[in-house]
C-alpha cells in the first residue's frame, strides 16, 4: 500500500502530468514524420530528461514511446507511408480508407485500437512481468527460425491476386535482406564493391521506397484522372460513436491483437512490425468475410494498431525483468534507466519498486492521454488529404528524402531510396505487390540468424533436424505454420461443404 500511495502522489503532481502530455504529443509528431522512428524520438528527447527527477524522466520517456508508435499510423493512413516500421500493416487498409474520403474514421479507429491495445499491454507489464520473462528465455535459434517461417506464410494472405507472384516477391525481399555483411560468417555479400552497402539496406528506407515512391508516382499519373482520385475529406458527425460501436461489437479482435502484440513484444528480436503483420494476418484468416480486407476495412486498421501498441508494453517486460530489451526503442529506455542509476534486472522490483510501479502506471495512463489527443486531433489531421496533388506530391517526396537521410545521416540511403523506389514502381505495376517483398526483408535477418546459429549449435545433420523438429515450442510453431498454409484451403473446403449441405437441404425441401 505504501507503494500505491507513492505512485499516486507522483502521478498527481501537475508537472508530471504536463510532461506526460508533452511527451505523448512530441512522440506523435516525431512518429508521424517518415524516417524518424520511435527509437530516434526517444534518443533525441533523452538529453532533455537528464535534469529531471527520475520519476518525471521515466514518465516523459514512456509517453514519447507510446506517442511515437501511434504517430507512425498517421502517415501510414494519410500518405501510405509507415511513419515507423510498426505501422506497416496499417497501410493495407488505412490508406484505402483515406482514398474513400474517410481518413478520420481510420485515424479514430487507429487511436481507439492503439489506446485499448496499449492499456492491455500495460496491464500485462504490470501483472505478468515475472511470469512472461521466463517465456522469453525459451526462445533459441530454432524457435526464431520457425517464427520467421510462420511470418513468411503470411505471403498467402498478403499477395492479392497471384500466390506465385507473392512468393517471388517474398523471395526478392529475402534476397535484398542478405545484402551486406553476413551476420554469421562475416563475408560481404552482393555489395559489388560499394563499402556503403556493407551495412545492408536500412529497413525504413526500403519501407518508404516500396510503399511511398510508387504511390507518389501513381498519384501524379492519376492527377487528371478523376476516377482514380482520392475522395475529398468531409468531416462527418458521429464518427467517434460509429467507431466505438464497430470496435465493441468485436471485442475479440482487439483482445487477440493485443495478446499477439504482447507475446511478440516479449520475444527479443521481433518488434512492432512483426506484431502488426502477424495480428493483421490472424484477423484476415479468422474473419468470415475476407473480401473487404485491403480495400479499406476498419478491422484491418484495428488489428494492426491494437497489436503494435500492445507490443510496446510487451517489449518492456524482458527489459524490466531481465535487462534484455525486447525491441530497439526499449534498448534506448535501458540507457535512460542506467542514466538514472537504475539497473534493470531481477532485483529491479525489490530495489526500485516505487519508481517502476510509477513508470508502469504512468505508461497505462499515457495511453489514455494518447487516445484523447488523437480523438480531438484526427478531424484536423484528416484535412491533409484535401491538399491538391500539386502541393502534396512534391512535399511527400521532400519528406521521404529528408527522412531517409535523417536515419543515419547517410546520403547513400537517399540514392537507394530513389532507385529502389523506381524499381518498386515497375514491380508493383507488373503485379508484384510491395507487401510480400517487405515481409521478406523484415523476416530475412531473423530467419538467417536462426538457421545459421542452429547449424552451428548442432553437431551434424541429424542433430540439426532434432533441433528443428523436437523442441516443444518449435513443434507448436510448426503446427501454426501448417495451419496457416492450409487455412485458405480449409476455409474453401468448409464453405463448399456448407454450400453443398444447403444445396442438399434445398433439394430436400424441394422434393418434399
Amino acid at each position: 500500500m505504501e507503494v500505491f500511495q507513492e505512485v499516486l502522489s507522483s502521478l498527481t503532481q501537475p508537472f508530471n502530468l504536463i510532461y506526460m502530455i508533452f511527451g505523448v504529443a512530441a512522440g506523435m509528431i516525431v512518429g508521424a514524420l517518415p524516417g524518424l522512428t520511435a527509437t530516434m524520438a526517444i534518443a533525441v528527447m533523452l538529453p532533455f530528461t537528464f535534469s529531471m527527477p527520475p520519476d518525471t524522466a521515466l514518465i516523459t520517456l514512456g509517453g514519447i514511446y507510446i506517442g511515437a508508435i501511434f504517430g507512425g499510423c498517421i502517415a501510414a493512413i494519410l500518405i501510405n507511408t509507415p511513419g515507423t516500421p510498426s505501422s506497416i500493416a496499417t497501410t493495407f487498409d488505412g490508406y484505402p480508407m483515406t482514398q474513400q474520403g474517410k481518413p478520420d474514421q481510420a485515424l479514430v479507429t487507429a487511436a481507439v485500437s492503439s489506446g485499448i491495445g496499449g492499456v492491455i499491454g500495460g496491464l500485462a507489464l504490470l501483472f505478468l512481468t515475472p511470469m512472461l520473462a521466463a517465456l522469453a528465455l525459451q526462445f533459441g535459434p530454432p524457435e526464431f527460425f520457425w517464427i520467421a517461417l510462420l511470418g513468411l506464410t503470411m505471403v498467402a494472405t498478403l499477395s492479392s491476386g497471384s500466390l506465385l507472384k507473392g512468393l517471388i516477391g517474398g523471395s526478392i525481399g529475402l534476397l535484398l535482406s542478405t545484402v551486406g555483411l553476413a551476420p554469421i560468417g562475416g563475408d560481404s555479400r552482393f555489395t559489388f564493391g560499394f563499402s556503403q552497402l556493407q551495412a545492408g539496406f536500412e529497413l525504413i528506407v526500403m519501407l518508404i521506397a516500396f510503399f511511398c515512391i510508387p504511390q507518389v508516382i501513381r498519384m501524379i499519373k492519376n492527377q487528371s484522372n478523376t476516377k482514380e482520385q482520392v475522395k475529398p475529406f468531409q468531416s462527418q458527425k458521429g464518427v467517434i460513436g460509429y467507431v466505438f460501436k464497430q470496435i465493441f461489437m468485436r471485442p475479440f479482435l482487439i483482445l487477440r491483437s493485443a495478446v499477439i502484440g504482447i507475446i511478440v513484444g516479449i520475444i527479443p528480436g521481433a518488434g512492432g512490425n512483426v506484431a502488426s503483420l502477424l495480428s493483421y494476418d490472424a484477423t484476415v484468416r479468422m474473419s468470415k468475410d475476407q473480401s473487404t480486407f485491403g480495400k479499406g476495412d476498419v478491422r484491418g486498421v484495428s488489428a494492426s494498431e491494437g497489436a503494435n501498441n500492445a507490443e510496446v508494453g510487451g517489449s518492456l517486460v524482458p527489459l524490466l525483468a531481465l535487462g534484455i530489451p525486447g525491441a530497439p526503442p526499449a534498448a534506448v529506455i535501458i540507457g535512460a534507466l542506467l542514466m538514472q542509476g537504475i539497473q534493470p534486472g531481477p532485483n529491479l522490483f525489490e530495489e526500485n519498486a516505487n519508481l517502476i510501479y510509477t513508470f508502469i502506471t504512468a505508461f497505462i495512463l499515457a495511453n489514455v492521454v494518447m487516445l484523447i489527443l488523437a480523438l480531438f486531433g484526427s478531424k484536423y489531421i484528416g484535412r491533409v488529404i484535401n491538399i491538391p496533388t500539386y502541393y502534396l506530391a512534391p512535399a511527400i517526396v521532400f519528406l521521404t528524402i529528408i527522412g531517409s537521410y535523417a536515419i543515419r545521416n547517410n546520403f547513400t540511403d537517399v540514392v537507394t531510396l530513389i532507385i529502389i523506389g523506381l524499381i518498386g514502381y515497375v514491380l508493383s505495376e507488373r503485379g508484384f505487390a510491395p507487401a510480400p517483398i517487405v515481409l521478406g526483408l523484415i523476416l530475412g535477418p531473423i530467419a538467417e540468424e536462426g538457421l545459421a546459429q542452429s547449424i552451428l549449435i548442432s553437431e551434424g545433420f541429424f542433430s540439426l533436424l532434432g533441433l528443428f523438429f523436437t523442441r516443444p515450442i518449435t513443434l507448436v510453431l510448426m503446427l501454426f505454420c501448417i495451419l496457416s498454409l492450409l487455412s485458405p484451403y480449409i476455409g474453401k473446403l468448409l464453405k463448399s461443404q456448407k454450400a453443398k449441405e444447403e444445396q442438399e437441404k434445398e433439394e430436400a425441401e424441394e422434393s418434399l
Partner: protein
C-alpha cells in the same frame, strides 16, 4: 513474349547470377542466400511456364507503366538526388519543390498564380522542415560538393 514471360526471364537470370556469386562466399555466409536464391529460381521457372501456357489468351492493354507523367516524375526524382549531391539539400529542395509544383499545376492553375503557388509552397515547406530537422533533430543535411 508477354510481359509476364519477360518478368520471369528477368527473375531467372537474377537468381542464376546471384547463385553464381553466392558460391564464392564462405560456408556460413552462403547458406541462407543459396537457400533463398534456389527458391527464387524455382518459383520463377514455374512462373515462366505458366506465363507461356497462358501467354496467348491474355490480350494485354497498352502499357501504362511508362506514361509521360510517370517518366517525367522518375527523371525529376533522379535529378533531385543529383542536385542534392552537387548543390546541397536546401537549394536542391527549393528547386525541386518549385519546379515540380509548377509542372503539376498544368491544367489546373495557370498564369502568374501558377508561379506564385510554386514559389510559395517550395519556400514554406523547405524552410519549415529544414529548420525543424537541422536545428531541433540536429540532422546535418548535405551541403553539396562545393561548400565542404
Amino acid at each position: 513474349m508477354t510481359k509476364d514471360t519477360g518478368s520471369a526471364v528477368f527473375f531467372i537470370l537474377l537468381a542464376a547470377g546471384g547463385l553464381w556469386m553466392a558460391l564464392s562466399f564462405n560456408t556460413m555466409s552462403a547458406v541462407f542466400p543459396i537457400l533463398v536464391l534456389s527458391l527464387l529460381l524455382l518459383f520463377s521457372i514455374i512462373y515462366f511456364f505458366i506465363s507461356i501456357m497462358k501467354g496467348r489468351e491474355s490480350t494485354e492493354t497498352a502499357s501504362a507503366i511508362f506514361s509521360k507523367e510517370a517518366v517525367i516524375t522518375g527523371l525529376c526524382l533522379l535529378g533531385y538526388v543529383l542536385f542534392i549531391w552537387v548543390i546541397g539539400f536546401l537549394a536542391a529542395s527549393l528547386l525541386f519543390l518549385g519546379g515540380m509544383t509548377w509542372y503539376l499545376q498544368g491544367g489546373f492553375v495557370s498564369g502568374k498564380k501558377r508561379v506564385r503557388n510554386a514559389a510559395g509552397s517550395s519556400i514554406i515547406v523547405t524552410v519549415v522542415f529544414f529548420f525543424l530537422f537541422r536545428y531541433v533533430f540536429l540532422v546535418q543535411l548535405p551541403t553539396g560538393i562545393f561548400t565542404s
